[in-house]
Amino acid sequence: MNIKENIKTLIISKPLKLDCGQTINNFPLAYETYGTLNEKKDNAILIFHALTGDQFVTGINPITKKDGWWSYAVGPNKSIDTNKYFIICANVIGGCMGSFGPSHENPKTKKMYGTDFPVITINDMVNAQINLLDFFGIKKLFSIVGGSMGGMQVLQFISNFPDKAKTVIPIACTSSHSAQNIAFNELGRQAIAADHNWQDGKYISQNTVPDKGLAVARMAAHITYLSKKGLQEKFGRKLQERDDLKFGFDADFQIESYLRYQGSVFVDRFDANSYLYITRAMDYFDLVKQNNGNLSSAFQNTKAKFFVISFTSDWLYPTQENKDIVIALNAIGADVGFAEIKSDKGHDSFLLDVPDFLKALKNFLDKSYLEE
């Protein structure tokens, strides 16, 4: 995937030592901004995207021509109000929307990196993104916000840079990827690897795309983002444009058709190798282990105000895992609030129109902004 003209890119010249041991430099970090940075430069919010997100948080994504992934939450007068705040979001490294990733050319071989790309971590992602603060001349962000993998980046960011954010909002996430999380990610990776077109990651040079494998990965993952109840209410056993079962393996049921559709649109916008790299980064995320078993130490140097949010029907990053973050913060007397939002929409709740969530997010931000 080439860098497209609608993508703003910052070239990071400062060498970045990755957790895997390699050092990268002069690499691109693609980003987008919304709203205006005020004179005091105290109204900036850094948003971190989830596994399949990108820097195009709201408005029309210029590449996909669809609504940005967090259009419900971010925009004029919305929870994260672009009339008030200056929003920055970067494509994670390892991603496929302009930031340094496996679809880039390896200068040594003049070929696409593919699986020669270094394995990156959540830590590497935030260490790349801290450069955005210098670029914009921001000493301290008003807030860092993210859901799912975005929430993991939020936690890692404040742990690495304790005085770089005033407020910290991890949403529907965890401090350590669970066995179940890793299992689902591995299922996705194996689906991609099982596609003959994947070609050990060298598909672009061979002019193929492992779209079947990537679509299956997306379908499996998509199920984990929804709740059983939500699926049942939306689809139940409804049939897809037919009056009766066809006694075959076509998509008889609406849920089958829906998943196939989700898989097919995903492959148009996402790179299979990026999917491998980013899911790996999530699996490697273990802030507890990073802190020798004591999560509290990750936050002991920060005075930031935390607001942790979970959703009742999220079984991928359930309330208890979010609460563990709250417990670790309370153990060191940190300033932390917590709300579990009632929603049937599963893990995806943070991306959807869930009024209680959007209200809590807005109130927390706006009230905190007024505080000295």
């Binding site: 105000k305 607001f307 609460k323 709250v326 417990i327 309370n330 153990a331 007397g333 300033d335 932390v336 609030g337 917590f338 709300a339 579990e340 939002i341 009632k342 209680d356 209200k359 809590a360 109130n363 927390f364 009230k367 905190s368 007024l370 505080e371």
Partner: protein, 198 residues
């Protein structure tokens, strides 16, 4: 605002670190921030009330005090407040122990079931008392461990909690409860407010 809030505020030092357990809509929290510049946070089980607190800019943790107090380290607050909530817990003794573990002092207020109007209600009407401080019917009340001021004083003695201040509230007027006037206060007051230490 509940009349007891002013009395609670008087018991609390300026700029202290406070936890309000079962903080409801955060009205007491706001009052204490204004009056005493406290660093305060609340725990609340009701999702609606949690939202209301967030809307007021208060630091609030959604949770169940009976389970979620254990996450706080020993003596992490100067005061832990439990305002008219003790009677709703499954195990009030355990909760008080937790309050005194995480707080240097605890402020506990209880609706007094020994109040003469309540006694009279049961005596004359023969049905479970419903009053302003105890507005629920027997079948929908969250209050499963109601007690009187006298019960609470006896309970504290038996469990070795030190009552550093015991205040009775009668028609919004406070007065001290002593061993010598305990029977009288138990009859005339609708609310007991206690500052407790271990």
């Amino acid at each position: 605002m509940k009349p007891e809030f002013k009395i609670i505020s008087d018991l609390i030092d300026k700029n202290s670190h406070v936890l309000d357990v079962g903080c409801g809509d955060g009205i007491l929290m706001q009052f204490l921030i204004k009056e005493k510049k406290v660093n305060i946070r609340g725990i609340e089980i009701s999702k609606t009330k949690v939202q209301n607190c967030i809307a007021k800019g208060l630091t609030i943790i959604e949770g169940n005090a009976e389970e979620d107090l254990r996450q706080f380290p020993d003596k992490s607050f100067d005061y832990v407040i439990l305002s008219q909530t003790l009677q709703a817990f499954l195990d009030p003794e355990k909760v008080i122990n937790e309050l005194l573990r995480i707080g240097k002092q605890a402020v506990v207020t209880i609706p007094n079931f020994g109040y003469w109007k309540i006694r009279l209600h049961l005596l004359l009407k023969g049905t479970m008392p419903v009053t302003r401080t105890l507005p629920d019917e027997w079948y929908n009340t969250p209050n499963i461990h109601l007690c009187t001021i006298k019960d609470f004083v006896f309970f504290s003695k038996e469990k070795n909690f030190k009552l550093s201040k015991s205040i009775a509230l009668k028609n919004n007027k406070p007065s001290y409860i002593k061993d010598t006037n305990l029977n009288m206060k138990n009859l005339s007051s609708n609310l007991g407010i206690f500052l407790i230490e271990r």
